[in-house]
Subunit: 453 residues, 2 copies
């Protein structure tokens, strides 16, 4: 019996082969699509169903692509020819919320924003805050190691997950990690799974480390600079001064202009760049004033707001970046991350690459943590060769500055050709061998992450 | 040529075979010693020397035990018959301190306290704060995933390491991790190495994530309770009230009494238990008052000090626990960790086990994070069978309460017989296979962690 027949016999109507669903499962928000058509999309609703799918996949040697809401930006959850797309999007239960132990146990399909809406009622929140939070799932967040806007102050995803339940390629269920603040029993497989992009197993549950809602006001500073380097230098000066904002976002001129178009806002001054900074907690107002003074000393025209809603409006400009880029054409969104002190130098490198390749590379940055998103825009489905060549220069520049290929989007298919350049061949091979321990048949997301391009 | 001859030819006087050194390298601060005598202690001073040792070990199939200051409490760094003890204690260089990027690059042999003394000059600190900080190394801290007193507020070791340089079993050097705040390129091998207790390779360098020194005062609250359960319930109430102290240490009657003996302090009241709590930062005084009110409502007699030195004196009682226990006999120090809400129930379980086995089990706890250190005291070198049986009950009770076998000391030899009970056989085997990817010949710390007892 074929893999598809077995799936249908075991899972009935959860097996979806409608052309629209199959087409949808080929692509993510990067705009890129896997070649060919997947076998089926299975909408698993229980852990047991995930296990059934994996047993059938193992028995029939069928590749499996795990998928949440499909908002990835590196192609890791795109299903191609002959592959089973295993969706955990319907697994949205919140099994437990413990205010006393500051933890929640959730299924992977719940949206980040939905989870935080529930937690707010308990005076709690889960810190990871991707720009896509309204449309992306907790499971996708874990699978990619997605970061977001708050990481410099409130940590990355890896700091906010205590344990995961993982279904292996052969269908066995493992409980990794712990529920206590501390735990060093054996190897830390929870951290290994975070950011593994569907290559080690299927995350079917997660024990999340929560924080109490931050008390006090939120202050927002918007500052305009004559050029992007001045804005980057000002943001590095804020960090170097020892003040820790909750959010510090940088947008260059091309980004501001694209968002202004999308949202029908007035056009920004030519060449100008912007920092949008939020402070929170009991010292929010004092910190905001100190930050504003630093920004002015670096040539910024500042505006400080103590109103939470106005702050959200100012940040909405930043959160609209991705749709604004998508409106311009097909995008290749990069995600390099550098030490904070190297931010100005990285913007110099981007300007150099723009000149050398005759390209505009609209760039936003989580300036508080040194994570930049340069965007390449082009016509058609696939990046032309000179875009790949420019991206190659960009990666090598980031690595030369002590940085990394991807801060929060992951490797997927779009960055797999550079993985060995950063890891070195020895580490690349070691990592690939580790995936084989979890997945000896190589059926979990083949062609992603560890596929040399 | 024998392994020892090759070592001497390659490394000369760094190869130490004096009987005192060999005897010393057999044991750690747990008081337990490996059987037999190691081949040699090699005092590596450079990365290249570590690589030479590992090449010789691989060529001659000789087991290697990596060792720092030998302050471990689970036997993981004890060298036994025919093994090379590879000491990194002399590798103490601080290669880089970056206040702007909040990172330091260090060698593994530097003591925790020495590093923080250096960082203080830059207005920085590295948060991991094991009780042994004056005598334990950063490398040992990373190898065990050691926690300490500040974890609930300032995180565990895994939250404070960005990257490690690792020499593999065959002598190859890998650079794992990154220097930026964010980084998700490939699998997170840095986290995998943290807590791996010498089974994956030799940590020869680490990129540490630093914090700025906390501004404001430090307040210390000492509170005495009629019994340990009342103290545990009070500490859980502090956490549940949403106040986050920097330190919250609990000592039971037997612990207090042993430390009083050691330090020649007045004897505590029979049966009484103590909480020692510190708050820090701008809100320290307000938080201390709120905590004192909660403790009084739970039957505590409280004393609040705003003097930093007096606070250190109060904490010195807690930091003297290990020597106080050692003065009573041989100790088996346990290290279970439970969700914070389960602390009172865990103390009930300890009381039950004391009654059932006719044992006193002096216990201290990092009450802020639910990590307990029950101590079994006995005569002679090896725990008698009824102590192992009581320890077995203790572990199973912790696991039943949602806890874990070890919060911060690691598995070593003393807890390896319970590892599979917590992980399950499937995960145990998977983890063992991962160690084989790093160490195909099985020469790294054989008989530790993954050795079934």
């Amino acid at each position: 019996m074929s893999a598809l027949d077995r799936l249908v016999r075991a899972l009935g109507e959860l097996v979806d082969t409608t052309p629209a669903s199959l087409a949808d499962a080929r692509a993510d928000r990067s705009g890129h699509a896997a070649p060919g058509t997947p076998l089926a999309v299975v909408h698993a609703e229980t852990v047991e169903q995930v296990q059934q799918v994996m047993r059938i996949a193992t028995a029939t040697r069928t590749p499996v692509v795990v998928r949440g809401a499909g908002t990835g930006l590196a192609g890791a959850a795109n299903g191609g020819e002959g592959e089973i797309v295993l969706s955990t999007r319907r697994m949205t239960a919140v099994r437990e919320i413990r205010a006393d132990d500051l933890l929640a146990v959730v299924e992977p399909g719940i949206l980040n924003a939905e989870l935080n809406a529930l937690l707010t009622e308990h005076g709690l929140w889960w810190a990871p805050d991707p720009a896509s939070r309204d449309i992306s799932t907790v499971g996708g967040n874990i699978a990619t190691g997605a970061g977001g806007l708050l990481c410099a102050k409130y940590g990355v995803v890896r700091d906010a997950v205590l344990g995961v339940d993982l279904v292996l390629a052969d269908g066995r269920l493992l409980h990794l990690g712990h529920r206590s603040v501390k735990g060093v029993t054996g190897l830390d497989l929870t951290s290994l799974v975070i950011g593994s992009e569907g290559t080690l197993g299927v995350v079917v549950g997660a024990t999340l480390k929560l924080r109490r809602l931050v008390e006090g006001s939120i202050c927002t500073i918007a500052a305009t600079f004559p050029d992007v380097r001045a804005a980057a230098a000002a943001s590095a000066a804020v960090t170097a001064a020892g003040i820790q904002p909750a959010i510090m976002e940088l947008m260059d001129a091309a980004s501001l202009s694209a968002v202004a178009s999308l949202l029908a806002l007035p056009s920004p001054d030519a060449g100008s760049a912007q920092l949008t900074i939020q402070t929170d907690g009991p010292a929010a107002a004092v910190e905001a004033d100190a930050i504003a003074a630093i920004l002015r000393a670096h040539g910024g025209a500042t505006q400080v707001s103590h109103d939470r809603e106005e702050g959200e409006r100012l940040l909405a400009v930043r959160r609209s970046m991705h749709p604004a880029m998508a409106a311009l054409g097909t995008t290749l969104i990069e995600d390099v991350s550098v030490p904070r002190s190297a931010m100005p130098a990285m913007f110099d490198e981007i300007a150099r690459i723009e000149r050398e390749y005759g390209l505009a590379i609209p760039t936003v940055a989580h300036a508080g943590d040194g994570n930049l998103h340069p965007n390449f825009i082009f016509e058609g489905a696939e990046p032309p060769e000179h875009v790949w060549a420019a991206a190659d220069e960009l990666f090598r520049a980031a690595i030369a500055l002590g940085g990394t290929l991807t801060g929060e989007h992951g490797i997927g298919t779009l960055k797999s050709r550079w993985l060995a350049a950063e890891l070195g061949d020895d580490q690349w091979e070691l990592q690939r061998q580790i995936t084989r321990v979890f997945d000896p048949l190589g059926i979990l997301n083949p062609g992603k992450v560890f596929a040399h391009a």
